[in-house]
């Protein structure tokens, strides 16, 4: 076994989409992850889509228990995990049943035939064995007794049968690695690292992997072998990263760039918990993480830390944001910086906790009582979560305001290669605490006015400890400048106006929208968030097929970029694909009175480029 299989006879393809599917206990997420890592290190561009049930371990063998991981790897740039897998690895009947309909016509199915016994077939709802009843005609089926082969190869190693059985995913990984000529060393290294101390497990996994790798040749599966050349990426250092990690690192970067220690108040919730986990590791960066008793305490503790001069963050998902509304309203009126991260998931209510959706935009805008405007920033790709986090923190700290940062389950868990930025190149975030009086009273004595404002209507940030700047903040309406309690009607009107304008002014400090795709087309697609990959893909394909379509992708949802209205006015048709029932489309229609039309999907899954291509074409066809 060479590190990189390079049989000269292997045909080269531009891209493949592989889907690993099996029982929750079968280790499919790990298998997909490892395959992805090896492909990334090999230099392919790629995008992934992990999909798993809400249960820790849903009932074995059932459809509900299927866990899957899809990855597209390519020698070209890719922006989605692929429309349809061309290869499906199905570790049991339930996985086959659940995912066969996704497979491209004529695609390849690799199955662990050992799992296709009566009980499992029944659990999956098969009356007959699909491997035998002809229902897979039209696909290339490769049945392999993976369990048995793995157990055999482990027999000499003196590992427990249970451990041996559990290693069968490495058999599958070895086989697929061989088929796609992946380097093997990274995977073997990883096994050695990960299971350090558990020598038996290491031995079993490596044996299984090698057996799978060898099986390809032995079983003469050579005709299935293809290679995918490294992608022609910009020069630089790359790592493979998912959205939650990128977002966490972006927050750490914002803390470093602003010179403020970070405080995270959070309560675990899928799919946001991993940000808490990641940040809890980085105490040497001065990051304080606090696992609060609930989401309300989480955001309130963050506001407390913000009052104390920290870069304050709270991370959660939709249900948590719904609980934080009142406290966020306080942050709005206190005019304190705060980053609220919402990793959106399938809703409403508990909904589909492990699935993706982007249906919290209007809540981000309006989910508070009274007039409490707040900037909203959305990330659009796993790696871009890094920049989005920095941007959200920059706005919060520069404009003394809470900011909602939207990501979603797909970005959170999906990964892609990321060209690491030069730390020097990161934006500086300038924070200056007030240290002295900023006004004089009628008697000419120097005083501190906590709600005096600069040219951007931003108030000074005086933190406890600062000499002579003692002041009180609170949720009652406050008198202009002094911040004392005021019930004066004119003052309330003024303060409401100031709070509104302060957010609008931020438009001057965000980049104007850029139009990509075909700017001269008559149709523009306006997207936000994680639809970026699918929209880009669809527009690329439409372009290749001769249909020019313009693309505008918003990272700033409130305020909108200053030129957005002007840009939209240039197009006859405005299409707005969203993973919700039409939220941005409402904002655009209300703001710009354009007859924008929604393309909507609420299935707990991202758009595929193919779907969007079809939908956009249909809309254009409507004339």
């Amino acid at each position: 076994m060479t590190d990189v299989a390079e049989s000269p006879a292997v045909p080269e393809v531009e891209r493949v989409v592989i889907r690993f599917a099996g029982d929750s206990g079968d280790g499919m997420q790990l298998t997909g992850d490892r395959f992805t890592s090896a492909s990334a290190l090999f230099g392919n561009d790629l995008a992934t889509l992990p999909e798993f049930p809400a249960e820790i371990r849903a009932p074995q063998g059932t459809l509900a228990g299927v866990s899957a991981f899809q990855v597209q790897i390519s020698s070209e740039r890719v922006s989605t995990p692929g429309d349809e897998p061309t290869v499906l690895v199905a570790m049991n009947p339930a996985a086959l049943k659940a995912d066969l309909n996704r497979l491209a016509g004529g695609g390849t199915v690799i199955v662990n035939e050992d799992a296709f016994e009566e009980r499992n077939l029944e659990k999956a709802g098969y009356v007959d064995n699909p491997l035998e009843d002809g229902s897979l005609d039209g696909y290339t089926v490769i049945p392999i007794p993976m369990t048995k082969l793995t157990q055999e190869v482990c027999a000499d190693l003196d590992v427990k049968p249970r451990v041996a059985e559990r290693s069968k995913n490495f058999f599958a990984l070895g086989l697929v690695s061989w088929m796609y000529t992946r380097p093997t060393e990274p995977t073997l290294d990883w096994v050695r690292q990960k299971f350090k101390g558990k020598e038996k497990v290491i031995a079993a996994n490596i044996a299984a992997f090698k057996a799978g790798h060898a099986y390809g040749e032995t079983a003469e599966l050579g005709s299935h072998m293809v290679s995918i050349a490294p992608a022609d990426l910009e020069p630089g250092t790359y790592t493979n990263i998912n959205g939650n990690t990128a977002l966490s690192w972006g927050l750490v970067a914002a803390s470093q760039q602003s010179g403020l220690p970070m405080f995270l108040g959070s309560y675990p919730i899928t799919p946001a918990s991993d940000i808490l986990h990641e940040l809890a590791k980085h105490k040497n960066f001065g990051v304080r993480t606090f696992q609060a008793e609930d989401e309300i305490a989480a955001v309130c503790s963050a506001i407390g830390a913000s009052y104390g001069g920290h870069l304050a963050v709270t991370t959660t998902s939709g249900p948590g944001v719904a609980l934080k509304g009142e406290a966020i309203g306080l942050a709005v009126i206190l005019e304190l910086p705060l980053v609220i991260v919402d990793i959106q998931r399938g809703g409403p209510s508990t909904g589909l906790p492990t699935k993706t959706e982007a249906s919290d935009l209007l809540m981000a805008m309006y989910g508070r009582h009274g007039e409490s405007p707040m900037p909203v920033v959305a990330a659009y790709s796993p790696s871009q979560c890094f920049d989005a986090a920095i941007e959200a923190a920059r706005i919060a700290l520069t404009y003394m305001t809470p900011v909602m940062l939207l990501s979603d389950g797909y970005l959170a868990n999906g990964s892609e290669p990321w060209k690491l930025p030069d730390v020097e190149s990161l934006p500086d975030i300038d924070v200056t605490f007030a240290t002295s009086h900023n006004a004089t009273n009628d008697d000419g004595e120097p005083i501190f006015l906590p709600f005096e404002r600069d040219e951007n209507l931003v108030r000074p940030w005086a933190v406890p400890g600062a000499d002579g700047l003692m002041h009180r903040v609170g949720g009652l309406e406050k008198a202009d400048k002094t911040g004392n309690v005021s019930y004066d009607p004119e003052n309330h009107a003024l303060m409401t106006e100031l709070r509104q304008k302060r957010i609008e002014i931020i438009a001057n400090d965000i980049p104007p929208v850029e139009v990509t795709g075909d700017p001269d087309a008559s149709t523009v697609v306006v997207g936000w968030g994680s639809t970026w990959g699918a929209i880009s893909g669809a527009i690329r394909r439409l372009g290749q097929a001769g249909t020019g379509v313009a693309h505008v992708h918003l990272t700033h949802l409130n305020p909108f970029p200053p030129n957005l209205g002007e840009v939209l006015a240039k197009y006859d048709k405005v299409l707005v694909p969203e993973l919700n029932m039409g939220q941005l489309v409402k904002l655009l229609r209300a703001e710009f009175l354009v007859d924008a039309k929604g393309i909507n999907k609420v299935m707990g899954q991202p758009f595929t480029a193919a779907e969007l291509e079809r939908e956009i074409l249909a809309h254009i066809g409507e004339g």
Binding site: G43, R288, F290, C300, V423, M470, L476
Partner: protein, 338 residues
Amino acid sequence: MANAPVTTKKDWATDQEVRWCPGCGDYSILTAVQLMMPELDVRREDTVFISGIGCAARFPYYMNTYGMHSIHGRSPAFSTGLAMARPDLDVWVIGGDGDMLSIGGNHLIHALRRNVNVNILLFNNMIYGLTKGQYSPTSEVGKVTKSSPYGSIDQPFNAVSLALGAEASFVARTHDMDRKHMQETFKRAHAHKGASLVEVYQNCNVFNDGQFDTITKRANRPANLIDLIHGEPIRFGVDNERGVIIDSSGNAVIVDVADVGEDALVVHDEYREDPAVSFALSRIAANPYSPTPMGVFRSVDRIEYAAGATSQLAAAQEAKGPGDLHALLRSNPTWEVD
């Protein structure tokens, strides 16, 4: 915070008009605090008062320190964040019985178990004042209020029992009619490293006037206030004739000293690791109409939350060196494209 400049009461008061009803017990608590602060050797700049919503919660506006009048029930959460972020500060938390025990009950008990270094003053007037007189979680059963015209049917919380059940390391009770006792109790709370809960019986003369008269009126105190004094047998009464024992079944009960002899009395020990006896003492009075213990029920040392968090930060820095962003970004496998 040591060697703070010398200050007087005036330095600790803001220019804001105090907006409580004339005669409200909150005034005397405010005075007690403003008079006490100069004695604490702390700077106003390093002091923060955080409150929720309610009459009591107006308190921060009157203290010339840093302060936050937050939202209803959440002051323990705000102060937890602040105290963790800024262990250098002196954080006081003020709120009413509704604020802290009704909507805010959970944050309170979690702050107590975590032992965050905040001084929590719970102004218990056994009523909702600011919303004009509904019963609160400390109101007695049968209380007729706007929201309970037929009498409330809710068993009240005993704030001291609840705090002890929630692992509080410092729990005390005082009342608005005794400035000295308040000040001493608040000073003890301030000196305690960790979360301190002080229940302050406070008269709301508009919606619940005289609720505590039986025990706090000067004339009634000898008979009905049981002073808890560390190291002393627990005795009270007009002629110091009554005392508290733990009876054979394990309950704290009031007895005539003459019947049992002084030696049988509980010698108060604030520092007992086990909160059981403090808890037993908290059960002596089911309501403020019969002899009621006042003072420090419990004061034990336990690692303070922010200190714990800070030491983990320090240890991590020690072990890994200060954060290096460049290295962090490269902490997973990387590859080069050229």
